[in-house]
């Protein structure tokens, strides 16, 4: 916890933005205004932020179907994201991608991805580019506990080891892939990290609901990888507060599970307890951030609603040819 006051404020703000972004979407989706499939990241904020706070614009990340948190943490603009989810022409992808395909290449955010497991090989490619450029930059592949059973994820890990690509595989184990438990679907003798280790990588594990655990772990990981140690993997144990997708009845949960994790494994709550306890920030400091964030979310929603809608001609642009 050797972070400056500013750094702490920034980290909290980043997590809070993700939280409120998702909570607000959760509400808005009920109205039917938002189209398509939306997977909320709520509960996992400490991972996205604890990882991305170490990165700069030349480091790359590749995300998943549950990508809003990674996007926001990597610096994608809030209004552009909201507008994208609203399917607006002013969205980050002009309304062509939507929730599952938000990308901002200039920010080093190489895309959310609707295909489970597809991101890992792409991250290895970005890491190979960094290796060629030789400036100590890295690429991060975010994957879920479900994605870690997809052949592409395995291929990517071996590929990264063979090519010594500066790639970091971040596994967010939130215990579920859709409606299936990790204990069933990941046959691994021990944990996901051990499987990664068997591919020849150095691995770490930490509590993904604890911002400081994530942040500290990632400092070590990044020192190792930026220093030329080759690829690495980290498994974060975390929690997803909402259903797999919006509308999921969640019959696979234990009774009281959501209340329990919201109570005891909420990264924002625990961050507040830590920093106020250690007198690094006051409740008032954090309350102020909370208010700012809520205001910015409200503004983003208002803007998204008012934003230009795409036109039929837009279908035909951004692709080399239309027959």
């Amino acid at each position: 916890m050797q972070l400056s006051r500013e750094a702490l404020q920034r980290a909290y703000r980043q997590m809070k933005v993700i939280r409120e972004f998702e909570e607000r979407l959760h509400t808005e989706i009920q109205t039917g205004e938002i189209a398509g499939f939306t997977h909320l990241y709520c509960g996992q904020e400490a991972v996205a932020v604890g990882v991305c706070e170490h990165l700069d614009i030349d480091d790359k990340i590749v995300s998943t179907h549950r990508g809003h948190g990674h996007c926001l943490a990597k610096g994608c603009e809030l209004n552009g994201m909201m507008a994208e989810i609203w399917g607006s022409r002013e969205g980050l992808c002009k309304g062509k991608g939507g929730s599952m395909h938000i990308a901002d290449i200039d920010k080093g955010m190489l895309g959310a991805n609707g295909i489970v497991g597809a991101g890992a090989p792409i991250a290895v490619g970005a890491a190979l580019s960094a290796k060629i450029d030789n400036k100590g930059k890295v690429a991060i592949a975010f994957s879920g506990d479900g994605a870690c059973n997809q052949g592409t994820t395995f291929e990517a890990m071996n590929f990264a080891v063979v090519t010594q690509a500066p790639c970091i595989f971040v596994f967010e184990n939130n215990h579920y892939s859709e409606h299936t438990g990790v204990d069933y679907a990941v046959g691994t003798a021990r944990d996901i990290a051990s499987r990664a280790e068997a591919f020849g990588m150095k691995v770490w594990r930490a509590d993904g609901t604890d911002f400081f655990a994530v942040h500290d772990t990632m400092r070590e990981v990044l020192d190792f990888v930026r220093g030329g140690g080759g690829p690495a993997a980290v498994e974060f144990d975390t929690e997803r507060f909402f259903g797999h997708f919006e509308g999921d009845p969640q019959r696979y949960r234990a009774k009281g599970e959501i209340e329990r994790i919201r109570e005891s494994r909420d990264c924002l709550k625990n961050f507040r307890i830590s920093v106020t306890g250690a007198k690094l920030l006051t409740d008032a400091d954090l309350d102020q951030i909370d208010q700012d964030v809520l205001d910015s979310i409200e503004a983003a929603v208002v803007a998204a609603r008012a934003a230009d809608r795409p036109t039929p001609e837009d279908v035909l642009s951004d692709v080399y040819i239309a027959y």
């Binding site: 189209a35 398509g36 499939f37 399917g87 607006s88 022409r89 992808c93 309304g95 062509k96 991608g97 939507g98 599952m100 395909h101 991805n113 609707g114 295909i115 489970v116 497991g117 597809a118 479900g146 994605a147 059973n149 997809q150 052949g151 592409t152 579920y176 892939s177 859709e178 409606h179 299936t180 438990g181 990790v182 204990d183 069933y184 679907a185 990941v186 046959g187 969640q250 019959r251 696979y252 949960r253 234990a254 009774k255 599970e257 809608r309 795409p310 036109t311 039929p312 837009d314 279908v315 035909l316 692709v319 040819i321 239309a322 027959y323």
Partner: protein, 337 residues
Amino acid sequence: MAQMMYRDAVLTTIAEEMERDSSVVVLGEDVVGGMGTPGGPEAIGGIWSTSTGLFDKFGKDRVIDTPISESAIIGAAAGLALAGKRPIAELMFADFIGVSLDQIWNQTAKFRYMFGGKTKCPVVIRMAYGAGYNAAAQHSQSVHQILTGMPGLKVVMPSTPADVKGLLRQAIRDDDPVIFLEHKALYGMSGEVPEGADQIIPFGHARLARAGEDVTIISSGLLLGFCEAVADKLAAEGIGCDVIDLRTTSPLDEEAIIDSVEVTGRVVVVDEAPPRCGLAADICALIAARAFASLKAPPQAVTPPHTPIPFARELESAYLPSVDKIEAAVRHVLGWR
């Protein structure tokens, strides 16, 4: 006759066939749901509710919930089939043929031929396809055009609950690999379904959804309904349309197509796949080759443009063939002199 939803026609047909034939096995992601969770098995029964209750009835050896490993799902289905079972594999979305194509195309489809007829390979691969859900570029695609082009596969695209029943039963009993394409936007469609376990619709027999002598409209899946709407509208003007529901794209009922076009001399083919090397072009070429002398107008295709599928509501609507676009195409060929 019972009134039934398209999705329930899938589920009840599978259940009846599993009851009838103990070699029928189901596998796929979340086809049980809840495995390894506090809630326990059967927490979902398939995200399309097309396998609900099967696990309780037939047990874990015959209803296999799988990790997110589509190549392994299809490969395991192929292995089950070579070993004498009749697997029904589910790909949650048709777009996931991307991560499993080798097992479909180079393995399952080719075994019988490569092995000189020494084996059959009775695998059914079910998958939800099509646009209309704003699910964007990776969860909305049509893939029948890709799979129809692959020798060894049979490809089925039911457009009503009754056809689901008759065609899925044939698919399960068929000795060749069958791709069974369920349109996402039709799962909630209700319709009359004939009862009785031998309601089977053989492959390669199109259905005449509307009859008329002025123009032929050919389609399947979601867009078939759009074509029917156009036919009904034109009927009110005294224009008669043959609307042919292909039901299976491979084998293709070439005779039904040619017979109709020989009468009408005018044809519109409506398909949800992209335009290049798609099914619409395939059928237009067939017609141009085999009904050349009867044609009074160029065979016309109505398809989406050659672009990925966009997300926003306005964009997806503009992307998909609509009733208006189909009507315009039909009027175009009718007006051709």
